[in-house]
Symmetry: C2
Subunit: 132 residues, 2 copies
DNA sequence: GCTAAAGCTTGCCATCAGGGTAAGGTCAAG
DNA sequence: CTTGACCTTACCCTGATGGCAAGCTTTAGC
């Protein structure tokens, strides 16, 4: 006797929004949910688990496409952990690169801000730096 | 005798794309460019300088809206460097927050990846961690 | 039983900073 | 005069959501 919940309940339990759950279904991450006679989507505990999985993966910054791959691996008993790790490390590299880019911006911007006295005078090292 | 260039030349000299220059004009960052009889946009050296300013600011990650504010300050002789610095520090805070978020992702993801042996077996600590 | 509120449905538009493409006008070199 | 490079506008696409509208369903109160 599986407990079935509507999309609002599913959203609360997973931390997703109802909108996003529909979006993930549309995007093909999930099989189309069963419906009541009135057309309301219904979710069982297994589907809730899948939604939580998606939520966790999205929180770690995986793209929808990457989450889709992760879900495929998750559902495939013949998977190798090698494949999963490769996907994770690829994403890790993307994150590291973004961090590096942002830190470069931060560094330059901090230097400019530090060299601007920030008083009531119009002379401004930040604007001068941007003009370069 | 000001030298006038068309949009392609302006793009080359500033590192922007012609598309983006039109986009910035449309967005109100720049006054509408003068045109030739045939409708071609023409840019003088002052406008090229403004485009370079935009390019620099965008490279530092300022949003279009922020660049718009920076341009207003730049063009205003009555500005105070305080205003500019405030804008810069606000953006700096945004960057720092993004870096922190990404580093948190990176940390968790690195832990998961490290605990996954990455072999041919289906057992996978990453998937287990996502399931949580 | 009626009514109002809450929840569900689909569909469309907006975001942000562009990229791509198409259809057409213009200009310069050969 | 033709060809190719350059310009114009207009439209659709991205990614991952949020928001709103119009309409149906379910639930709760009275």
């Amino acid at each position: 006797m599986t407990t079935l919940v509507t999309i609002g309940q599913a959203a609360k339990q997973t931390g997703l929004s109802a909108k996003m759950i529909r979006h993930y279904e549309e995007a093909g991450l999930l099989k189309k949910a069963n419906r009541t006679d009135a057309g309301y989507r219904l979710y069982n505990s297994q589907q809730l688990q899948q939604l939580s999985f998606i939520k966790q993966a999205r929180t770690l910054g995986f793209s929808i496409a990457q989450v889709s791959s992760l879900l495929d691996l998750w559902r495939n008993p013949q998977r190798s952990s090698k494949e999963v790790k490769q996907l994770a490390e690829q994403h890790l590299d993307e994150i590291k690169q973004k961090v590096a880019e942002l830190q470069q911006m931060q560094k330059v911007l901090q230097q400019l801000a530090d060299s601007c006295c920030g008083d009531d005078q119009p002379q401004c090292a930040i604007l001068d730096g941007l003009q370069r």
